[in-house]
């Protein structure tokens, strides 16, 4: 009795607000487990809404408190405005140092308006921790692997997005003030929330000069007039004023820089790559992430959540970088990407520069190019989730949003048009979609899509290298010498070194050591049957293996001056973990 209530009491003591519930309508006895979902979680979180920075912080703290053997909360540095950047380490801490297990890195929300990445990342922490006891697969996964999860790497502008007037696309930047129009003034003409509803929607004006008409199917919507048809409305852009009197409206909003053009791989300046800031990692949030990644060489896979469009993206981001992704690495990406397409219906596996757009200095490019880490970016929220139709044209898609808003959200995502007396434009109407639609998932879709995307990251984590000392053979030689041959296998599809890593020696080689004291020679074998191998003259007891390939193996051999050598073997790989076994 006491044991069961303890965590609830603990949670209650931490709570102030947000979706973590202090009291429950149901007791665990009344709940029938739905397959695949923790039915009696220590930390209860509603996954059909969004959390601001304080809310995220609280959920992080509660998860770490409730699962001290599985979840650790640390900070990697501060944001520009001084918010702590949180990282959650998720692993079974009782089965070894998380730093020595192969690791998956997940972050979200680098673009501040692309909010749901944070909830998806948090859902992953919650799901893993709350399922550890009941699910053998999850238990084994956390015994063998580590997750590093940073729910938001842009907390300043996340809060701005939620608490200040914005539209679905703003801000994409961080909060550093910059001069965007070259007049020497910073952020001097931002959009204005004229009707004080917390959303930046559109301005339209009734005018015989306009080329738009009301959509007869849905009067909330404007559509272009036919070429031979007179128009009745003109569109005047986002809600706002010409604050600085320069004849332009909203031309210098918050930012503008793009945190996803700030990474140190093939970085280009703003005049080539719009959105680039001063130099790679000139944003404090990205610099903190970069330092964290450099301090955690066990990271072998990564996911950076964006929205939207239902894409599973891999690099290269720029055409100039095609050679950075070679055949061996692409095979691994393709296997994972195809899996993702299956578990997340409506999402398509794509290559950034080829299928989306060309961009320099992206996060996934740095992870892959500079660190050799297999990295995806999922563009969350697929149009497929709206209605069960995969092939819709751009025009239909747009109409679909109005239908979806009406049929499933009962107009909750729309600010209906209201007249407003504008100082520059005169009488206008203000209205349009709220900032929480259509890029962010409507509440009822959030948990499902979080789960599906998590399932993909879990699969990628499962496929991080899993090393095994498969076999050790000994053979007596003359003069009291013994030959010891060991086979080291990798039972997953991701190699200990991607080929980008191998090419540039990004991470140190894997070490295979024999603990016997009387080693005469050590060889890394090319073909053990034919006795083809390369001798390592320096320090033969610890052989250096450039790579242990995915679903492959390597063989090593020692010549030992002993009849009964100590057959304790240790494999120590930065991205493949540590295995020690005595034979």
């Amino acid at each position: 009795m006491k044991k069961r209530f303890f965590p609830v009491a603990l949670v209650a003591s931490l709570l102030a607000f947000c979706g973590v519930q202090t009291s429950r309508a149901q007791t665990p006895e009344q709940v029938f487990r739905a397959a695949g979902t923790p039915h009696n979680p220590k930390v209860s979180v509603s996954w059909n809404r969004y959390y601001d920075y304080a809310g995220i912080t609280q959920i992080c703290q509660q998860l770490a408190k409730a699962h001290p053997d599985l979840v650790k909360l640390e900070t990697i540095g501060d944001s520009y405005e001084g918010r702590r950047l949180w990282v959650l380490t998720v692993s079974d801490f009782k089965t070894g140092d998380p730093l020595r297990k192969p690791a998956m890195y997940i972050d979200g929300n680098i673009h501040s308006n692309e909010i749901q990445g944070a909830e998806f990342a948090l859902y992953t922490v919650w799901y893993l921790a709350e399922n550890f006891q009941d699910n053998r697969f999850i238990k084994e996964l956390l015994q063998q692997k580590t997750f590093y999860i940073i729910p938001t790497i842009n907390p300043d502008a996340r809060d701005n997005f939620m608490h200040k007037p914005n539209n679905a696309h703003s801000p994409r930047s961080g909060m550093m003030p910059l001069d965007d129009d070259g007049d020497g003034l910073v952020d001097e003409d931002q959009p204005d929330d004229l009707n004080k509803d917390g959303h930046i929607t559109f301005m339209r004006r009734k005018s015989p000069n306009g080329r738009y008409i009301l959509d007869p199917q849905n009067p909330l919507r404007l559509i272009p007039a036919k070429p031979d048809q007179p128009g009745t409305y003109e569109l005047l852009g986002y809600e706002g004023l010409d604050n600085d009197g320069d004849g332009k409206v909203n031309e210098d909003p918050i930012g503008y820089y793009d945190p996803n053009r700030d990474w140190g791989w093939n970085w280009q300046p703003d005049y080539i790559q719009r959105g680039a800031f001063k130099y790679p990692f000139s944003l404090p949030e990205n610099r903190a992430v970069k330092d964290f990644v450099l301090r955690h060489p066990n990271i072998a896979g990564a996911q950076s959540y964006h929205n939207n469009g239902g894409m599973i993206l891999r690099g290269p981001g720029a055409e100039e970088d095609q050679n950075t992704y070679n055949r061996d690495d692409n095979q691994v990406y393709d296997l994972l990407g195809k899996y993702a397409e299956q578990v997340i219906p409506g999402y398509t596996y794509m290559v950034v520069y080829r299928d989306l757009y060309s961009a320099f200095g992206g996060e996934l490019d740095w992870f892959h190019g500079a660190r050799g880490i297999f990295t995806f970016t999922n563009e969350l929220m697929s149009p497929y989730l709206q209605f069960d139709r995969k092939t819709a044209s751009g025009q239909e898609r747009e109409a679909e949003q109005y239908d979806f808003n009406k049929m499933l959200l009962f107009n909750d995502a729309f600010v209906e048009w209201e007249p407003f007396d504008h100082p520059t434009y005169g009488m206008v109407e203000i209205g349009g979609f709220k900032k929480n639609y259509p890029r962010a998932h409507p509440g009822f879709l959030l948990e499902e899509d979080a789960h599906r995307n998590m399932a993909f990251t879990v699969y990628q984590t499962y496929q991080l290298p899993q090393l095994e000392i498969r076999e050790v053979q000994t053979r007596k030689l003359s003069n009291g010498l013994t030959e010891v041959t060991a086979t080291i296998a990798n039972n997953r599809i991701i190699p200990t070194h991607s080929s980008q890593d191998l090419k540039y020696k990004i991470e140190r080689p894997d070490y295979v050591s024999l603990k016997d004291q009387s080693i005469v020679a050590g060889l890394v074998m090319e073909n053990a049957d034919l006795n083809l191998g390369k001798e390592q003259k320096q320090n033969p007891s610890r052989l250096e293996i450039p790579n242990i390939p995915g679903m492959g193996y390597v063989k090593v051999r020692w010549i030992v001056l002993a009849n009964k050598p100590d057959l304790t073997i240790e494999v120590d790989s930065r991205k493949g973990g540590v295995v020690t076994q005595k034979f």
Binding site: Y279, P280, G369, Y504, K505
Partner: protein, 553 residues
């Protein structure tokens, strides 16, 4: 001329110099340089300030000496960046001597005082003090990287193969190993100097050549992972040499480069950057290449900027009269190209000092005939060093029993570290003087915004039309052509300032112009309703500002 008289003359000409015996250590350590800069800035406290932009890994300050009277941040500025390569100690000395000469002259000469009144000089005397300090350590080796530990050969082992001073002379020189597979042979003009054998000319290699030391990790490479570091001049964003030795984990990864870049991005007033470093784009300008300039990733000077480089190069050669500069192209990840392509400013580089051509002796009393310059730079250098009594420039080859080469003939010797880039300091004063003259001339050419032809004309209905030309009276553009593309370069800005009861009827309050070339103008016009006086201000952080008022009609 006999040796005694020659020595006496040298002594007379440079009576301030230290004795020749200690000349080889006469470059200053970090502490000495710090004291010298502090003294200088306190002596000329009205004309200069000494600040720091950051600290190195060992806690040394990265000094910035600012020359200019008051309000330095609001005046067009020239940046002089020295010590970018660690081994080029002469660049630091040149930068400081130039500052000393400039400050001294400012007290005596009106023209220099005026210069420091209208312009700012940001001088970074040594951007990599952790590297240059190796010159003063007990063991001297040419260190070009800072003190940020890095695994140079990326094998997971740090500093596993450092240099060893095998012959215990405190210097890391070279080892030559007699071996028929070697690629080197002694030069014909001077058998001490090792040169590459040209197999295509029937020459045979006789020696393997390595730096002095042991192959500690027995990987067949000697001293491939010594202590250090990242090289300042290899850590910038343009054409960054990924995974190359000394480049670092990513561009601007280092304390020094980040501190420098952060200062620069904040300093909107920087007009041009002069690097005292390995490349030379002043003796001979970079050529315009249309293909390079029109790529998506622009990697050649834009046309107008190339023309300016040409113009500046002529000025440099005319004012300094320095000749026979070796060609030295920009290099990957260097600060020179960053300053142009990514920082958007005019950017130039010169080593400042290079080995002068040895002139043929005028008297042939000893029967010596004129010697033609060698095709090998090292031969020319040693000739020059000996003619100029550079002490300890060369360590003669001596046999050494080397454990890595048990049965082979190994000798240790060669040029002393740093010697090719550290001429006796006494030789630098005239070089500094010439560069000071160049910078003075350059500063006079810098752009200057003027408002001319300002008129106000009466239009019906109480309106006044105001027209003015904003003219660049300087001999150089207001900013670079590439600067027009960059968000970090402020365009020429013309603002109309109105009183409360005046109203702008037509024309934008703020008008921006792309770079104005020498003598180019930008016309502005407004229609204003009201009475009284309005002010027009033309301004650019790199070209100065001017305000003029006019009465409404």
């Amino acid at each position: 001329m006999n040796q005694k008289i020659k020595a006496a003359l040298v002594g007379f000409a440079f009576c301030g110099a230290t004795s020749l015996a200690t000349a080889q250590r006469d470059y200053q350590s970090y502490d000495q340089l710090t004291a010298r800069l502090q003294k200088l800035s306190s002596k000329y406290s009205k004309l200069s300030t000494l600040t720091t932009v950051g600290k190195t890994a060992t806690g040394k300050e990265i000094w910035l000496l600012t020359l200019g009277r008051d309000n330095a941040v609001n005046k067009p500025a020239i940046v002089i960046a020295a010590g970018v390569e660690g081994t080029q100690l002469a660049t630091t000395e040149l930068a400081v001597q130039m500052a000393e000469q400039m400050l001294q002259a400012a007290v005596l000469q009106d023209s220099v005082r005026e210069l420091l009144q209208s312009k700012t000089f940001y001088i970074f005397p040594n951007l990599m003090p952790d590297a240059s300090e190796q010159y003063h350590e007990k063991l001297r080796w040419e260190r070009s990287a800072n003190a940020q530990p890095i695994d140079d050969d990326r094998d997971g082992r740090m500093f596993e193969d450092p240099f060893e001073d095998l012959n215990k002379d405190g210097l890391i020189t070279m080892m030559r190993v007699k071996n028929p597979t070697g690629l080197y042979r002694p030069a014909k003009e001077d058998p001490r100097i090792m040169v590459k054998a040209d197999v295509s000319k029937g020459e045979k290699g006789e020696y393997l050549l390595y730096t002095e030391g042991i192959d500690n990790d027995r990987d067949g490479k000697w001293n491939e992972d010594p202590e250090g570091g990242v090289v300042f001049n290899r850590n910038f964003t343009f054409d960054y040499p990924y995974f190359q030795e000394g480049a670092g984990e990513h561009p601007i990864s280092e304390r020094e480069t980040k501190a420098f870049a952060d200062f620069m991005y904040d300093a909107r007033n920087v007009y041009a950057v002069f690097v005292l470093g390995p490349a030379n784009t002043l003796s001979q300008p970079l050529a315009y290449d249309k293909g390079k300039a029109s790529k998506r990733i622009i990697n050649g000077l834009l046309e107008k900027d190339a023309a300016v480089n040409d113009q500046i190069s002529k000025l440099y050669n005319n004012t300094t009269q320095l000749k026979n500069a070796p060609k030295a192209a920009p290099s990957s990840g260097d600060v020179l190209q960053w300053a142009y392509f990514h920082y958007g400013r005019f950017s130039y580089s010169t080593p400042g000092w290079w080995t002068p051509k040895v002139s043929a002796p005028k008297d042939t009393v000893n029967g010596k005939a004129a010697v033609a310059p060698s095709e090998h730079e090292d031969v020319n250098f040693i000739r020059w060093a000996e003619a100029n009594e550079v002490v300890g420039a060369f360590v003669d080859w001596k046999r050494f029993k080397h454990p890595d080469f048990p049965d082979q003939e190994v000798e240790i010797g060669g040029f002393a570290p740093y010697v090719r880039q550290t001429p006796p300091v006494r030789l630098l004063a005239p070089v500094a003087q010439k560069h000071f003259e160049f910078f003075s001339a350059y500063a006079k050419w810098m752009p200057s915004l003027q408002i001319v032809n300002i008129t106000s004309e009466k239009v019906a209905g109480g309106l006044t039309r105001i027209t003015a030309d904003v003219l660049n009276q300087g001999s150089l553009p207001t900013h670079s052509e590439i600067g027009d593309k960059s968000r970090w370069v402020q365009k020429v800005k013309v603002t109309l300032k109105l009183e409360n009861d005046q109203k702008l009827v037509s024309g934008n309050k703020i008008q921006l112009s792309n770079a104005l070339g020498a003598g180019e103008k930008f016309q502005v016009t407004w229609l204003v309703n009201g009475k009284g006086y309005v002010t027009v201000e033309a301004s650019s952080p790199t070209a100065g500002s001017q305000s003029k008022g006019v009465n409404l009609r």
